[in-house]
């Protein structure tokens, strides 16, 4: 067995997995606060990436300004979506809420297609494309940077959840009737979680845009990140990180060995099998709260 190849596949899989995890974290944030599985999460990543491009290409801002500007814009968009689309559905059956997020997904894809066209655009972060050798392993600089940022986002969230505002958000996700009973602004908390998810989506959009270009296919990240979120347990942030690395490694290693045999395409298969097996065998995921199943 070629250990260098195996390690290379695993290491690259792990960093890619952390990039999935960044999107999965957004899904988890929204699910935790409001029990809404956000099917528009992939579209939010795409819109975030387009927002960065809009600020840099249309307004001529340098990248280091365009990214924070896009994050501010997405913060507002997240609040707006919750306020005008989701809040009205409070108390409706979950299927209606799912349909709403699906509708948002189609809407966001449609509106970006109209505004930016269908051709892929470059997202230039100024990170060199030159290969980087870690020992004998070949790695991508963009992926590595993105993985580091994903871990930083996770750390920032862990710290945030210890602040008073963060504690209130956890209280809401724990029991919203009790939250109401002690005067916690449940609606504002849910809006904040949407805003945070949209901001994190922007960061994910920046790195995924740099990896594969900015076009409609960014919204397909939903499938992989949803798998990561479900595998980690829909309501667990550490679960999203662990599951992200796990799925990334699995996908990369399995397809690395299988693709030459079957002629490609086994990547998607790994993701699909993981999702199906998780739902069948362990619906609350690796770290999820068992009681979540009730929802």
């Amino acid at each position: 067995m070629d250990w260098i190849l195996f390690l290379e596949l695993a290491a690259n899989g792990a960093v890619t997995g952390l990039l999935y995890a960044m999107v999965a974290i957004s899904i988890v944030l929204i699910f935790k606060s409001s029990a809404v599985p956000n099917l528009a999460q992939g579209a939010l990543v795409m819109v975030g990436a387009y927002a960065v491009l809009a600020f840099s290409d249309w307004l001529g801002l340098p990248m280091w300004l365009a990214i924070p500007a896009a994050m501010v814009f997405m913060f507002g968009l997240g609040i707006g979506i919750e306020r005008h689309a989701l809040r009205r559905l409070a108390g409706q059956p979950i299927i209606m809420i799912l349909m709403m997020t699906l509708g948002l997904d189609i809407f966001l894809r449609g509106i970006t297609l109209a505004a930016f066209g269908g051709s892929a655009r470059r997202m230039d972060l100024g990170i060199s494309d030159d290969p980087l050798f870690v020992g004998q392993i070949l790695m991508s600089r963009v992926h590595l940077t993105g993985a580091a940022v994903a871990l930083m986002v996770f750390a920032a969230l862990v710290l945030f959840f210890r602040t008073r505002r963060g504690i209130r958000l956890r209280a809401i996700s724990n029991d919203y009737v009790a939250s109401w009973s002690v005067g916690i602004g449940v609606e504002q908390g849910v809006a904040l979680s949407w805003a945070l998810a949209a901001v994190i989506s922007t960061i994910a959009g920046v790195f995924w845009g740099a990896v594969q270009g900015v076009d409609q296919s960014l919204s397909l990240l939903l499938l992989k990140s949803l798998t990561v979120a479900v595998l980690g347990g829909l309501d667990s942030l550490p679960g999203a990180i662990v599951a992200g690395i796990l799925l990334g490694v699995l996908e990369s290693v399995v397809s690395g060995y299988l693709d030459p045999l079957v002629g490609g395409g086994s990547r998607e298969l790994v993701v699909a099998v993981t999702l199906i097996l998780t739902v069948l065998i362990r619906p609350h995921g690796l770290f999820g709260d068992r009681s979540v199943e009730r929802i």
């Binding site: 108390g91 008073r164 504690i167 209130r168 956890r170 209280a171 724990n174 029991d175 919203y176 009737v177 009790a178 939250s179 109401w180 009973s181 002690v182 005067g183 916690i184 602004g185 709260d289």
Partner: protein, 268 residues
């Protein structure tokens, strides 16, 4: 605050509550909670006690219920349509039936979560200290995940958490539920202390009429969504109907219930 003594802190007039636009849960409840008093709302399962509390705290909205008639006045202000959050700001807080602690949070985090947003760090610390002096048992377990606390400790936490909102009126929904008589006595004596030392008015909902009537000055008896009796605690304890059916005197048999039903109709 001289006017407050004349007018009750809370008054309900002919409040009617409907769930899901169809089922009438409370029909015409009137009651008063004078400032600084301990009042009990008694009744059997499904009589409408919890619904009445929820209409006051605004939590009906979460249960798809609505106040369709009547007035809820608090400190002279009509609060019928205020959000639960606004009512907490005014000083109305409800401790939910079945405790409802934030199970994944620690004891301390449960209390911090209930702090008003505008409270400063120093104020929060003194509020925490005050809550812990009422419930020393919680202080010992301040860093424990609250889901793992015992039932009695969770009940104490739910009350302590409500205190963090700096209420003027505390409403408790079945605080004795599932607790041993000893724990019930302990919690009731703490409620009495909170009422005396903090001057917080208390509206207590109980099925355990025996324990409740020892604590409060006045009581209301509610049945099928209507108030059927209102009197001092002493008078209620001596009332033969209450003795038989709520305090559990002799064994209850069918004929007695029928006889009681007839009499109740006459009462209403």
């Amino acid at each position: 605050m001289t006017t407050a003594s004349a007018e009750p802190l809370l008054s309900l007039r002919n409040v009617e509550v409907v769930y899901d636009n169809v089922s009438l849960a409370v029909s015409g409840v009137s009651l008063d909670v004078p400032e600084g008093q301990l009042i009990a709302l008694l009744g059997a399962n499904g009589a409408g006690k919890s619904t009445t509390l929820r209409s006051i705290s605004g939590l009906l909205q979460a249960a798809r219920g609505k106040v369709t008639r009547g007035e809820i006045r608090y400190a002279g202000q009509l609060v019928n349509t205020l959000s639960p959050q606004d009512r907490v700001k005014l000083g109305i807080v409800q401790v939910l039936e079945g405790r409802h602690v934030f199970e994944q949070l620690t004891t301390n985090e449960n209390l911090e979560a209930a702090c008003p947003v505008e409270m400063s760090r120093a104020e929060m610390r003194s509020a925490l200290d005050r809550a812990y002096t009422f419930f020393p048992r919680l202080a010992e377990r301040r860093n424990a995940t609250s889901g793992y606390l015992s039932g009695g400790e969770q009940q104490m936490l739910a009350i302590a958490r409500a205190l963090m909102t700096r209420p003027r009126m505390l409403m408790l929904d079945e605080p004795s539920l599932g607790l041993s008589p000893m724990l019930t006595t302990e919690i009731f004596s703490i409620i009495r202390r909170i009422n005396r030392e903090e001057g917080i008015s208390v509206l207590l909902v109980e099925q355990n009429a025996f324990a409740a009537l020892d604590l409060v000055s006045h009581g209301y008896l509610i049945e099928s969504g209507r108030v059927v009796m209102h009197d001092t605690a002493t008078a209620m304890k001596n009332n033969p109907d209450i003795q038989e059916f709520y305090l559990g005197g002799h064994g209850v048999n069918f004929r007695d219930i029928k006889h009681y039903r007839r009499r109740k109709r006459w009462l209403t």
